[in-house]
Amino acid sequence: MTLINRRQFSVLAAGAVATLTAGASPLLANEVKGLEFLAPSAPGSGYDQLARTMQAVLQEKHLASGVQVQNVAGGGGTVGLSQFITSRKRAPSILVFGFALMGGIITTKSAVTLDQVVPLARLMGEANVIVVPATSDIKTLADLVAKLKANPQAVSWAGGSIGGIDHVMVGLIAKAVGVDPTKVNYVVHAGGGEVLASTLGGHATVGISGFEEFRSQIEAGKLRALAISSGERMPGVDVPTLKEGGVDLAIMNWRGLAVHASTPEEERKALAGMIAAMVKTEEWKAALKKRGWLDTYLPPAEFAAFLKQEQVRVATALKDVGLSQ
């Protein structure tokens, strides 16, 4: 840990020098000092990318200084969560989490849960997309639904980890069209890359993953996008929503932030203010756009309410697919 932190420190030092030399914006008086993000996953993962994007934007806009990102991978994020909950914090610290961790807590029957942290903000969302190879005889979502109804086992779905967003979405689709979710033939793959390969190669019937993972293949005409999971169409993307295709469902892979339950009210407010200021910056909007993330910002109270609903929905979905009791 010391090694990484030292490395990160030198990284930060380099970043700080870069921003100072660029130094156009004035220093703000209420800058948060020595902020730490805990990403409960490996470097390069979704949580990590979000943390490091925030790190860059917060420092560039002088909303925070000395920002560090710590990665604690394992157990679907629950190892990081338990470390976040049990360790004593000297500096302000923020947990990055999202849909996957929420599902991971249920499937791993984790001893630590999200009830032990306080939601700070929802930051972004990613729509999922259902694709088939361009050569497939499935042309529309209706074709797929018909096939699924005829014989659920004959439709193999290539998707990410068990209990993750892809799996939950398949379960919810099956339920929505009146197919027993436990009969769904869901084939787990290790990450979007393998899902892409399995789908492009025609090994699985359909592929399901984040839109960005499939984007270039859809644009190149190698994959046909049947439906996108967001409630509304994505700007500039000619793919119908699930609702348009006759399946009454909208679901997004979201990520957000939380703080330790012991965080003083004052500090919590300062951090929420910092995030609220960050999401308004041009740099943040540009970073979201580059990565294909949708701006689904929610402030603390709204996020907490959303989280409650989402937990119930996902827990039910996981029960329906036979993952938890």
Binding site: L3, I4, R7, Q8, V11, A14, G15, A18, A42, P43, G44, D48, Q49, R52, Q55, A56, N71, V72, A73, G74, G75, G76, T78, V79, S82, T107, T108, S110, Q153, A154, S156, S161, I162, G163, N185, V187, V188, H189, A190, G191, G193, E194, L196, A197, S198, L200, G201, H203, A204, E212, R215, S216, Q217, E219, A220, K222, K290, R291, G292, L323
Partner: protein, 498 residues
């Protein structure tokens, strides 16, 4: 022709002093992190991403590619000298590489690794330049059934490392397979043998086990025998250059390693370990000195080292042409592409040809830089072995422990390392070979996942493994690899008494 002119344009981009500098920084950094166990190229690139935010994408990717290739070179150094593989791709190198070092031939082992890496890296880069689209089409033909057959084929490697006693070798293999079961089962989400410890949910890290068995176990064993044996330096004996015989025994393994490594690297779930296994097996089967394997055969270093470098180039084929990451490092590089708003995939070559060809050209340059950097270093590195044994042993144990910790910053890994280390010590005392355990641990879980995926897709129909032509061919090759040596042995045995 079009490719050639594009490549020339790429060289004009990569050969500017500014980009050359980034390439040099990349390969140096890559070699350094390759040498340090626990810090891999994936982590390094991830940590550098925020710093390179304001850098020109072409320069950033030239540096990342340097890190990627450099780590493959550096990984062999600790395997050979300290029996401490830094990443899973260099585990096989440790088998004979360290044996060579103990015989005072460490310099030759390092040299054949470096030159082999250069040869493989360069040939594979040429292949990447000209046949990447073809490679990718072949790679996509691999579904779960084909992967399972490939794993079975790789599993036959175990026959080359079983040692003299079949029961002992199999015991080690099954120990490895059992260790591979620990953690969440991907297909059902159920925890297996995790003992309620959250850190075990992701399974036991192969590198921790390899370092435990090789570095900790071996070192403890040697230290335990230290009192009964005269002090003997592992220092260099004779010339530090490769002899004519070394060259003639190395060049074919380099080429064969490349041939095995590149296509498997391009497979989305091929991994970097399988080509090293297959190369080891091939070399042992083809060698005129199979009895030297395990005791410092130079072919067993040359082949696998070439194979892991060629597979590194293979990884770039699906990454650039499909946006398909096939390794942890490739996944981070994909994230890096996205940071710059670039979309790897079929359109990348058209939209960002300067970047792609500059990157490919930089791979050729990086390989040359790495050879220049590493070959003279071989002579310096082997000086490590001149350290008196007690100090060397202490050093290896500290180095191994530090490496296992930095891997995931996880105390549980340290406990696993030392428990496995003590088991490794026991295995060494009882003369149980440790290599089959590693083969089982790496291949077992992969084979299981692919087997179950194949059956899920076929709805339980076992015939998929023999009705898919690629799968059938791979299984038949595996069968031949087991049967032919047995038949040959029987024939030889029949001839002998006469």
């Amino acid at each position: 022709m079009e490719t050639l002119s594009a490549l020339l344009h790429g060289f004009s981009v990569a050969l500017t002093p500014y980009n050359l500098m980034w390439s040099a920084i990349g390969v140096t950094l890559g070699t350094a992190i390759g040498v340090l166990p626990g810090i891999g190229p994936a982590l390094t690139v991830a940590l550098l991403l925020p710093v390179t935010y304001n850098l020109d994408p072409t320069s950033a990717f030239i540096m990342f590619a340097g890190i990627f290739y450099g780590a493959m070179y550096g990984g062999s150094t600790t395997s050979i000298l300290l029996n401490t593989p830094g990443e899973s791709a260099s585990i096989v190198t440790a088998l004979d590489g360290h044996a060579m070092a103990r015989k005072g031939r460490g310099a030759q082992a390092l040299a054949t690794a470096a030159i082999g890496s250069f040869v493989a890296g360069t040939i594979a880069t040429v292949a990447l330049t000209f046949v990447a689209p073809l490679m990718v089409r072949v790679a996509l033909a691999f579904g779960p059934a084909e992967y399972f057959a490939l794993m079975v084929l790789a599993l036959t490697t175990v026959t080359a490392v079983l040692g003299d006693s079949l029961p002992r070798g199999l015991a080690s293999l099954f120990f490895g397979l059992a260790l591979g079961l620990v953690g969440i089962d991907l297909q059902t989400g159920q925890a297996r043998f995790a003992l309620g410890i959250p850190e075990l949910l992701d399974g036991i890290d192969v590198v921790v086990v390899a370092v435990g068995l090789f570095a900790v176990g071996e070192t403890l064993y040697n230290a335990a025998r230290h009192r009964f044996e005269p002090e003997e330096m592992y220092d260099l004996k004779g010339s530090k250059w490769m002899s004519r015989e070394d060259w003639s025994r190395s060049w074919k393994p380099w080429l064969r390693g490349t041939l095995i490594g590149f296509p498997i690297g391009a497979l989305p779930a091929g991994g970097s370990e399988i080509p090293t296994f297959l190369s080891y097996l091939t070399e042992k089967r083809l060698s005129r000195h199979p009895e030297e394997f395990g005791h410092g055969a130079i072919e067993a270093v040359a082949g696998p080292e070439a194979a892991n470098n060629a597979s590194a180039a293979g990884v770039l084929a699906p990454l650039l042409s499909l946006g398909l990451p096939t390794s942890a490092t490739a996944a981070i590089m994909l994230a890096a592409f996205q940071q710059y708003g670039l979309q790897p995939g079929p359109l990348l070559f058209d939209n960002n040809s300067t970047l792609v060809w500059g990157l490919i050209a930089s791979l050729y340059i990086g390989n040359v830089l790495l050879l220049v950097l590493n070959l003279p270093m071989a002579g310096v590195w082997v000086k490590l072995l001149a350290i008196p044994r007690p100090w060397l042993y202490a050093g290896i144990l500290i180095f191994a422990t530090m490496g296992a910790y930095t891997l995931n910053n996880n105390l549980v890994d340290l406990v696993i390392l030392w428990v496995i280390g003590l088991i490794g010590f026991g295995m060494r005392v009882l003369d149980v070979p440790v290599a089959p355990c590693i083969v089982g641990l790496i291949l077992g879980p992969m084979a299981e996942q692919q087997f179950r995926r194949a059956l899920a897709i076929s709805q339980g129909d076992l015939s998929v493994f023999v009705t898919h032509p690629i799968s059938l061919a791979l299984l038949l090759i595996g069968l031949l690899l087991i049967l032919v040596p047995m038949l040959l042995r029987r024939r030889r045995a029949a001839q002998l008494p006469a």
